[in-house]
């Protein structure tokens, strides 16, 4: 309860800070450039959650503890939501600054490919009847898919012929190169921390929900085997002794 109140207050604080900061300098639409506070943190944090998903996947493959599989799935789901948010807010930023929702800017393209890769993770996860195989395959794909994330984020936009097409150069300098003034820097870091805390909480809730539903399933199966289940019996036990 305290965590929820804290997150609500922190979110409100960031929203108020967003409206109080003056329009950004050096952008085509200075008033709309403030969407950076809600665009850059999800873009940065989605990779963190994808990495955590890969780490939990590796732990599942080593220890075969189902809790790690639940955590891997939860991390990738949260990362996917953050990736979608980054893509959508990026499109709004692109329309405001560059005149079109989609410009095939290298960073826009990278995040779209990331979205597609992790969408296919969910397709893969639902393609198996055998749950143990599904977990092993999902964990392997979570690790394999993450191999492309550093390439998409750092390497691809920096290949010279591709970097020349980038419209992000000025924004990169502003956000990462220390070009923000103190008000912006404070609001940006506040937004980053609040979004991280909010989505970490969501991750924990999701992982706990998966653990609980798995425990319920196990209990139901145990009750069914012991004959104490309240569910409808499909097979009735038969005595092997005949009364002759």
């Amino acid at each position: 309860m305290i965590i929820k109140i804290f997150l609500l207050l922190a979110g409100t604080g960031v929203t108020i800070a967003y409206f109080l900061t003056p329009p950004a300098k050096g952008f085509a639409r200075p008033d709309l450039a403030k969407i950076l506070f809600f665009h850059v943190p999800p873009a940065m944090l989605c990779s963190v959650f994808f990495l955590w998903g890969a780490v939990m996947g590796a732990r599942y493959l080593i220890r075969r503890n189902i809790a790690f599989d639940h955590r891997s799935l939860a991390a990738i789901e949260i990362g996917f939501i953050l990736c979608m948010l980054a893509t959508l807010t990026g499109m709004i930023f692109a329309k405001a600054q560059w005149g079109a929702f989609w410009e095939w800017d290298p960073r826009q393209t990278s995040i779209l490919i990331q979205l597609m890769i992790y969408a296919s993770y969910f397709a893969l996860r639902h393609g198996f009847d055998d749950r143990e195989r599904m977990r092993k395959v999902s964990a392997s794909f979570a690790i394999f898919a993450f191999a492309s994330v550093p390439f998409l984020i750092w390497a691809l936009p920096r290949i010279p012929a591709i970097a020349n097409m980038s419209k992000h150069a000025g924004a990169n300098q502003a956000v990462i190169g220390g070009g923000l003034d103190s008000t912006y820097r404070l609001t940006f870091y506040l937004s980053l921390i609040v979004i991280f805390l909010a989505f970490s909480y969501a991750y924990q809730l999701r992982a706990r929900q998966s653990d609980e539903s798995y425990q319920k399933e196990l209990e139901h199966e145990r009750d069914f085997d012991a004959g104490t289940s309240t569910g409808a019996r499909v097979v009735e036990p038969v005595s092997l002794h005949t009364n002759d």
Binding site: D129, S140, F144
Partner: protein, 222 residues
């Protein structure tokens, strides 16, 4: 010779013999690549095409040809029931490396044929052969290791053929950006960055191969 290399060669030889005997998979690959090249050639119809557009069209052919050919690497093993035989007779690492090497060579040959046909149909010419072959070799490595791994992941699923394609395309679509960049430079586009693009593709190909060797044993055995 080291036993693992003997197993790898045995896996490669098994694929060579089985594809040569049945021929339908090889024919499918080459006919598909031929059809795609003809279709793309028709779109240009000998009009002067820029190196960028040529590289882009060619890469579409590369991507879909490689997905059609390499996804059957493990899917056909499950269809024909020989997957269990491979599990018993060979170590997982030699199975994976053998499959990657076989499909690397097959893909390289297919991409050379596709490019040759496209050059014939579109009238475009290769200006930098060194860069051009470097692109083909690095792309074949990245595509074969990535698609073979995705095929292995999907091999025991329901709807395996569709699923293998669905997970392969996003995993490898990034290759279009550096691939088109380096290919258009080899066709004479006045830009730089060809070598960096080739190195990026090669690096990712090696990363996919290494990850595949590490991860494949975890889900290959029953």
């Amino acid at each position: 010779m080291n036993s693992i290399w003997r197993e790898i060669i045995a896996v490669i030889w098994k694929d060579v013999i089985s594809d040569w005997r049945q021929k339908n998979s090889l024919l499918t690959t080459f006919l598909f690549s031929f059809s795609v090249t003809v279709a793309l050639g028709l779109t240009t119809t000998k009009d002067t095409v820029s190196p960028t557009l040529t590289a882009g069209l060619l890469w579409i052919a590369f991507l879909f040809t490689s997905i059609t050919s390499a996804t059957r690497s493990f899917l056909s093993e499950e269809e024909t029931g020989t997957g269990d035989l491979l599990r018993v007779l060979s170590s997982p690492v030699s199975v994976f490396v053998g499959k990657c090497l076989y499909h690397f060579v097959l893909l390289l040959l297919t991409l050379c044929i596709v490019t040759g046909l496209f050059v014939l149909f579109s009238g475009v010419s290769v200006k930098e052969f060194g860069l051009f072959f470097a692109v083909l070799i690095s792309s074949s490595l990245a595509l074969s290791s990535g698609i073979v791994f995705c095929s292995a992941l999907a091999s025991k699923s329901s709807g395996r053929f569709a699923l293998a394609g669905v997970i392969s395309i996003p995993t490898l679509i990034w290759i279009l950006a550096p691939g088109i960049t380096s290919l258009r430079i080899s066709f004479g586009a006045p830009t730089s960055g060809g070598l960096e693009s080739v190195l990026a593709i090669l690096g990712m190909g090696i990363a996919y191969l290494a990850l595949g060797i590490l991860l494949f044993p975890h889900f290959w055995k029953q």
